[in-house]
Amino acid sequence: MMERVIAILPELNQAFLETLLMVSIALAVAILIGLPFGILLFVTDRGLFLENVLVKRVAGLVINLIRSVPFVILLVFLLPFTQFLLNTTIGPLAASVSLSVAAIPFYARIVESSARDIDKGVIEAAIAVGASPWMIIKSIILPEVKPGLITGLTITAISLIGYSAMAGTIGGGGIGDLAIRYGYYRYDNTIMFTTVIVLIVLVQVVQYLGDLVARVVSKR
């Protein structure tokens, strides 16, 4: 049995790196776009300093639209877009397109809900000293929500690891792809268990690191 695993090691290693690659790209996009989106959802809410019903509604609608499409369907639905963007629909880079699209609204909602936990009085005190909206976002909301942002990023990363397996089924590569090729098409349980164990370890490590960092940055 060990030989089977050793024989597959190079492939497993590549699959692991592919998974890391697509999850990392999607996470980066989640931070770049999902985070500002989440903050936008929060500050345009009723009673907040950039209250704007229209912006809030439109942003909320777009996010709900994406979130209501099951990921497997989103994958297929986005194939033309991926083709247009990268000229291919195969490989981890192609898979990271749909993963990113799914990660943006997911993370945005998490950011929004953790921002809601900020004491409104703190924001009010900032308004009372005459701070501009941008200063309030940069120097009050972001630092206050930092532990929540990190916890949210952990949750997003773990969900994305799950999603990446689905992306694997339509040619995205990664650990999920490996598990399905060997475990499902070739009935090779050894390889399937190995990939499951790798995934379990990966998720544990991500969760542990996420919790650790969140604890360190929290000053409460």
């Binding site: 009372a128 005459g130 409460r220």
Partner: protein
């Protein structure tokens, strides 16, 4: 310094209109400490928040230092807010920032540079007595220390006005005293105009030169703190005053009284004992002081005595007439002819 003209604030909640502040007109003079008292829900907090437009009044005008705040652009309003400091019951410090950074934030909001900020923050922390806490986080501070940080933050941009929203209500009595004396010091040394809202009459007695009493969104009474304490007109004011000048006599004692029970109030410098002893010498009656207290309101004495007067009724009445002439207020609580009960 602050002029509120016909301020009203109405909310719509589930289709029903709720009136927070109802047509309030107030003037706060430069350099004074003005108190707004009322039970929770009276609208005092909403009124206070109208002064820096944290709450936009539904109607009415807010003038601060002669400027109509409604006419300012968002940018100018932010500038104006920098000259109106505010502190809160819940302190509202940024938990992820140190004491230094919390105070520095206000200066950065006003566009100060790094060097200025460092100097000013250190100056402010010295003023509020927290030099040794500059690198600690709010979670490591006590309530009183947190309020000191928020006072430093509020004073950062050298405001002319300080608004205090129940600033001592979450503090224990000892800490309350120290925060109040800090506010007094700020008022005296920096010449700041301070508006305090509170439900504690003790706070008003301690620091306010004038005050207003609010109920159901309206100001029901206003005047100098001394006048409010010595001659409250509104029943609500009377009940607030009683929290400080409490003169409930035990029931058992009242049962034993067979003379007339009078309540004497002395204002200012009238020496209470002299009047009482003169009265006792002038009339053949016996007097018995059951309760007495001299409160210093804004360092002016306000004395209240409850006496039992015994003797020939005609003489007692003459003595009461004599007292009415000499002291600021005489109230006959029990005339001794009916069954005993306090008026």
């Amino acid at each position: 310094m602050i002029k509120l003209e016909n301020i009203s604030k109405k909310y719509n909640s589930k289709g029903k209109q709720i009136i927070g502040v109802d047509d309030v007109t107030l003037t706060v003079e430069a350099g004074e400490v003005f108190g707004i008292v009322g039970y929770s829900g009276a609208g005092k907090s909403t009124l206070l928040r109208c002064i820096n437009l944290l709450e936009k009044p539904t109607s009415g005008k807010v003038f601060v230092d002669g400027v109509n705040l409604h006419e300012l652009s968002p940018k100018d309003l932010r500038k104006a807010r920098q000259s109106i400091g505010m502190i809160f019951q819940g302190f509202h410090l940024v938990s992820s920032k140190t004491v230094f950074e919390n105070v520095a934030f206000a200066l950065r909001a006003a566009g100060a540079d790094k060097k200025q900020i460092k100097l000013r923050v250190e100056e402010l922390l010295a003023l509020v007595g927290l030099e040794d806490r500059r690198d600690q986080y709010p979670a490591q501070l006590s309530g009183g220390q947190k309020q000191r940080v928020s006072i430093a933050r509020a004073l950062a941009n050298q405001p002319k006005i300080l608004l205090c929203d129940e600033a001592t209500s979450a503090l224990d009595p000892g800490t309350t005293k120290s925060i109040l004396s800090l506010l007094k010091k700020i008022n005296r040394e920096l010449g700041l105009t301070i508006v305090v809202i509170t439900h504690e009459m003790e706070v008003v007695k301690e620091i306010c030169s004038r005050c207003a009493v609010m109920q159901d969104g309206k100001v029901v009474e206003q005047g100098s703190t001394y006048d409010i304490f010595s001659d409250p007109a509104n029943p609500l004011t009377v009940s607030f005053i009683q929290t400080v000048l409490n003169f409930d006599l035990p029931k058992e004692l009242l049962e034993e009284i067979n003379g007339k029970l009078v309540r004497l109030q002395f204002k200012g410098s009238i020496a209470a004992e002299a009047v009482v002893s003169d009265m006792l010498q002038a009339f053949p009656i016996r007097g018995n002081i059951l309760h007495g207290k001299v409160e210093y309101i804004q360092s002016k004495p306000l004395g209240i005595f409850i006496m039992e007067l015994n003797g020939n009724e005609a003489e007692v009445n003459k003595a009461i007439a004599y007292l009415r002439d000499k002291v600021s207020k005489v109230e006959v609580l029990d005339d001794g002819t009916r069954n005993r009960h306090l008026a």
